[in-house]
């Protein structure tokens, strides 16, 4: 599509976070000349989410550093932000959206970047709990921070031992909280990593003074005025002045569902991020998409996926034929530990753990299905992460006996099986 063709068109993006904002800027790079309107229910200027549970919680640097883009950048690119505005419905027949005040805005192209919201389990008493917060938005992080400063006794209970729960625990610990973390499964990060990684993080947090309990299913929360009593199914009881809940997310897919788009585990899209409607695209946490490398449909919660799908959708809208084909990657920072992950470990039948010699605790977990490398988790070990990425991308065969041997230097030529 040439630029002159798009000049009178309107592109609406619902969701102004990693996916939506990146897509707006990518559209301009691709030459979209028409209007770009980005709606978000969140009144904040769009910001990076990952730091919320990490640096933002413990730093006094202010919010500016956390913005995805400074305000001028939107003006420069003629991207119109409609913040604090919830989109209520989509009318595909007349190609319009309806806002909460019943006003209507027409679109030529529509992009759903609605992401996800925290899942709040239906635990009896949860609605009356004191100082209970999820961790998803800037407001959540601010509330957690302010409440933490206000409360006199600082017993914090984190429910959920996934990345967000662990990062929040680490940050609050840094601020001096007395932190207890409850996990329902028998190990931390059970859904996403090998047992060795779970054990590593259990030890790390325990050393830093976080009390970790696994196999704890919370069944009731009783508000006692100043504090809460949290009761588990094994009758154990924990007292908490503040509770942070990090037990996963729910995809924001109602708009898509009500509009009759195909929705499965998320909003279903093709290789160009297009939904079952030609003129509607979906990107980021809300999508259920195909990964050619791993030959499966999946939903991802990561910045990488949000940003890469944003670029794909922008290219497709600009008349190109992009194919979304990436190796997922993710990171997490806890205390001074840097975790970097690449690939998808689903379906692995062997792990190889490589510990580096020398100072610091640097190691990596390599997930294989037979001889195929699926994924790498690297602790304080960017080299393992970078090499893992290359090996997975190029589908290279690795000599496992050399990989496990830390006296063999980390170089591609040392680790690869030579193809004769």
């Amino acid at each position: 599509m040439s630029e002159s063709q798009t000049i009178n068109q309107v592109c609406i993006i619902i969701g102004a976070s990693h996916a939506g904002v990146n897509c707006a800027f990518a559209l301009r790079k691709e030459g979209w000349e028409g209007q770009i309107l980005v709606y978000d229910a969140d009144p904040q200027l769009p910001y990076h989410r990952p730091p919320l549970s990490k640096g933002y919680l413990v730093s006094n640097e202010g919010f500016e550093r956390n913005l995805l883009m400074p305000p001028e950048a939107y003006d420069r690119q003629r991207i119109i932000l409609k913040l604090g505005t919830r989109v209520k419905s989509i009318n595909r027949t007349i190609k319009s959206i309806t806002l909460e005040d019943h006003s209507i805005q027409k679109y030529d192209k529509l992009i759903l970047a609605t992401g996800a919201r925290p899942f709040i389990p239906a635990i009896p008493g949860i609605d009356q709990a004191n100082n209970l917060f999820p961790m998803r938005t800037a407001q959540d992080a601010l509330d957690i921070r302010n409440t933490f400063e206000r409360i006199k006794t600082k017993r914090v209970l984190v429910i959920g031992g996934g990345y967000i729960g662990l990062e929040t625990a680490a940050s609050l610990r840094k601020l001096g909280a007395e932190v207890t973390l409850l996990e329902r499964e028998n190990r931390l990060l059970a859904r996403v990593t090998a047992p060795e990684m779970s054990e590593y993080f259990r030890q790390l947090h325990t050393e830093k003074g976080v009390q970790i309990f696994t196999n704890k299913n919370v069944t009731a929360i009783q508000s006692k005025g100043e504090y809460n009593k949290v009761i588990c199914d094994d009758q154990s009881i924990f007292k908490a002045d503040m509770i942070v809940i990090g037990v996963g997310i729910r995809v924001n897919k109602a708009l898509a569902e009500e509009a009759g788009l195909t929705v499965e585990n998320g909003i279903k899209v093709d290789a160009s991020a297009r939904t079952s409607d030609q003129d509607i695209f979906a990107i980021g946490d809300c999508t259920y998409h195909f990964n050619p490398h791993y030959n499966c449909f999946l939903r991802l919660e990561s910045v990488q996926n949000a940003v890469d799908q944003a670029k794909v959708a922008a290219a497709a809208i600009s008349g190109k034929n992009p194919v979304y084909n990436t190796i997922p990657w993710f990171w997490s920072d806890q205390y001074d530990v840097k975790l970097q992950m690449v690939g998808l470990s689903n379906g692995y039948n062997q792990t190889i753990i490589r510990k580096e010699e020398g100072e610091g605790n640097r190691f990596s977990v390599w997930y294989f299905k037979d001889h195929t490398l699926l994924a790498v988790d690297a602790i304080n070990n960017p080299k393992a992460y970078v090499l893992g990425t290359k090996f997975i991308k190029n589908q290279q065969k690795i000599d496992k006996s050399k990989l496990v041997d830390s006296s063999v230097a980390f170089k591609p030529q040392n680790l690869l099986v030579l193809q004769g």
Partner: protein, 102 residues
């Protein structure tokens, strides 16, 4: 204000001004092609790789340990490679010229 020039893969030369934050942020704000800054500047993605013009390398200094490890196996790494999210803007960088890595 610190002036920084980016040379993109299309050989376009773009000079922009900033006063704080990282060089990566400045590049992203100005839509410099080839600098994505996907991880937000925590040295986790290498989508902000630049080559520092030799004359300025003394001012930017060497990469840190994590940064070095991130760069070692990058395609097109050079002895003047840096991750621009690790370069803080300050007066001493005025006039800096960076080539965006391919």
């Amino acid at each position: 204000m610190t002036k920084i020039t980016f040379i993109t893969s299309d050989n376009e030369s773009i000079t922009v001004e900033g006063h704080s934050g990282s060089v990566m942020q400045l590049a992203v704000q100005h839509g410099i092609k080839g600098i994505d800054g996907d991880c937000g500047g925590v040295c986790s993605c290498a989508t902000c790789h630049v080559h520092v013009a030799e004359d300025y390398f003394e001012k930017t200094g060497q990469a840190g340990d994590i940064e070095k490890d991130m760069l070692e196996f990058e395609d097109n790494v050079s002895e003047f490679s840096r991750l621009s999210c690790q370069l803080e803007i300050n007066d001493s960088l005025d006039g800096l010229v960076l080539t965006v890595a391919k």
